[in-house]
Amino acid sequence: MVDEIKVARIRNGTVIDHISPGQGLNVLKILGVNENTISSTVIVGMHVSSNKMASKLKDIVKIEDRELDQSTVDKIALISPDATIVIIRDYYVAKKFKVEIGDHVTGLARCSNPNCITNKGEPICPEFDVISRNPPVLRCSYCERILSNISDNLL
């Protein structure tokens, strides 16, 4: 399995590694990858064996000709707090870092409470206090409800 992934090296782009198993497709959603937006190679591996992960499994996404902005990296952290971002330039690792979640999250997700003031057309950005980083637990700074199902509520 590992060999198969090695075969598909990318020349320039980003590898998102150590994604929590099962979250690979949600990472594609965050990247905005769909049939209309694919212009270069995207490789997805799901349930790949990994000794670094507690579950011994990981998902992995490689996307060619794209480097991620901070907001995209922050969203990945919310669904996969152990993920690693590897920037590849001309087949070499130019940069490698772990995603991080701060104490406060702004503008990355909407509140799952339909009665929350942030879902009522007010000119405000949804904000959350981070209660736990791994697994990520977010509490709305406005209505104080815990955000349920983070991946479904990412902006």
């Binding site: 509140c111 409470n113 009665n115 929350c116 003031i117 942030t118 009522k120 057309g121 007010e122 000119p123 405000i124 709305c140 700074s141 406005y142 209505c143 104080e144 409800r145 815990i146």
Partner: protein
């Protein structure tokens, strides 16, 4: 009094924003306000200042007690009691309404149907904002008056056995109250039918604060050891089957028979309005504290207004 606590200009949005020390400070100030709240003394310490009393949702006790507290302190009150009478009916955002009202007054009291509306108002307004209940979210002044009532009746809150009964799932007062009580080391018991028990996220937050509540659906099992019985209304609209509602509501009706094994000094509280969950015969017993509890809204709200607006007796 806690001399190092300053409330001037502070927003009161959630009980979670207040430490035990803050809560004790407000209760101490409220105690000094009692004779003024009763009209036995006059102390118009905020004369010349203006309060915006914005109630975008029906309310009787909270709105009237804020208004009464404001008048006792000498405040002038800008009163809005219907959303349809404001520019919000024309589509104005709450943010803009608050920005506008903020320029007309020195402090804002807000009741609003949407959860988190008070936090938004506090972020937008330069003047201090007091949350008078936002949706199913916070109602911190109710929690403060509940704590004040327990303290006045029992002398102290620490270590008391407090039984919360009724609709614990949807009732916002019991959520904030149980969280606040953990700061006083109270022991909590939740009595409700399974369908209306305390939500798991509230129980988790209590457990994280070293409070492990006892959960049951039988009041009889716990009434003997209770120091406080806090009753809430079971709302008919929560039950799709009227017969099921009657069955549940009947089980939790508090009358003298239900209280036969209670301690003599045990108090019964209710945030009101009650429908039929407490029999009128209980009103005449020493246990009944719910009307006193409703009155306590005035000294507590006087304490908050004077503390955040900078008045001292």
């Amino acid at each position: 009094m806690n001399g190092d606590v300053s409330f001037i200009g502070k927003d009161i949005v959630s009980i979670n924003d207040l430490s035990r020390k803050d809560i004790e400070y407000i209760m101490d100030v409220a105690e000094t306000m009692v004779p003024y709240a009763k009209g036995e003394k006059s102390g118009r310490i905020l004369k010349g200042k203006i309060l915006g009393n914005l109630f975008f949702e029906p309310s009787t006790r909270t709105r009237l007690s804020f208004e009464s507290a404001a008048h006792r302190l000498g405040l002038d009150v800008l009163d809005v009691s219907e959303m349809s009478m404001t520019s919000m009916a024309k589509g104005e955002t709450l943010s803009d309404t608050i920005r506008m009202v903020d320029t007309y007054c020195d402090a804002i009291v807000l009741r609003h149907p949407h959860d988190g509306a008070a936090r938004l108002a506090a972020n937008v307004a330069k003047s201090p904002v007091i949350n008078a209940g936002d949706g199913a979210g916070s109602h911190p002044t109710q929690t403060l008056l509940d704590l004040f009532t327990i303290k006045r009746s029992m002398g102290s809150i620490d270590g008391l056995n407090i039984v919360l009964l009724g609709d614990l799932k949807y009732g916002r007062t019991v959520h904030s109250l149980s969280n606040a009580l953990t700061r006083f080391g109270a022991k909590l018991t939740f009595v409700a039918p399974e369908s209306l028990q305390m939500p798991q996220d509230i129980i988790d937050s209590l457990t994280a604060n070293n409070c492990k509540p006892y959960i049951t659906d039988k009041l009889d099992d716990v009434i003997e050891s209770a120091d406080v019985l806090y009753v809430t209304r079971i709302q008919r609209e929560r039950f799709p089957d009227p017969a099921e509602y009657q069955k549940v509501a009947g089980c939790y009706r508090i009358d003298n028979e239900a209280l036969r094994n209670a301690k003599k000094e045990m108090i019964v509280m209710h945030p009101l309005p009650r429908v039929n969950e407490i029999a009128p015969e209980v009103d005449d017993t020493e246990h009944a504290k719910y009307f006193e509890q409703a009155f306590n809204g005035i000294p507590v709200r006087m304490a908050l207004l004077s503390s955040i607006m900078g008045g001292e007796l």
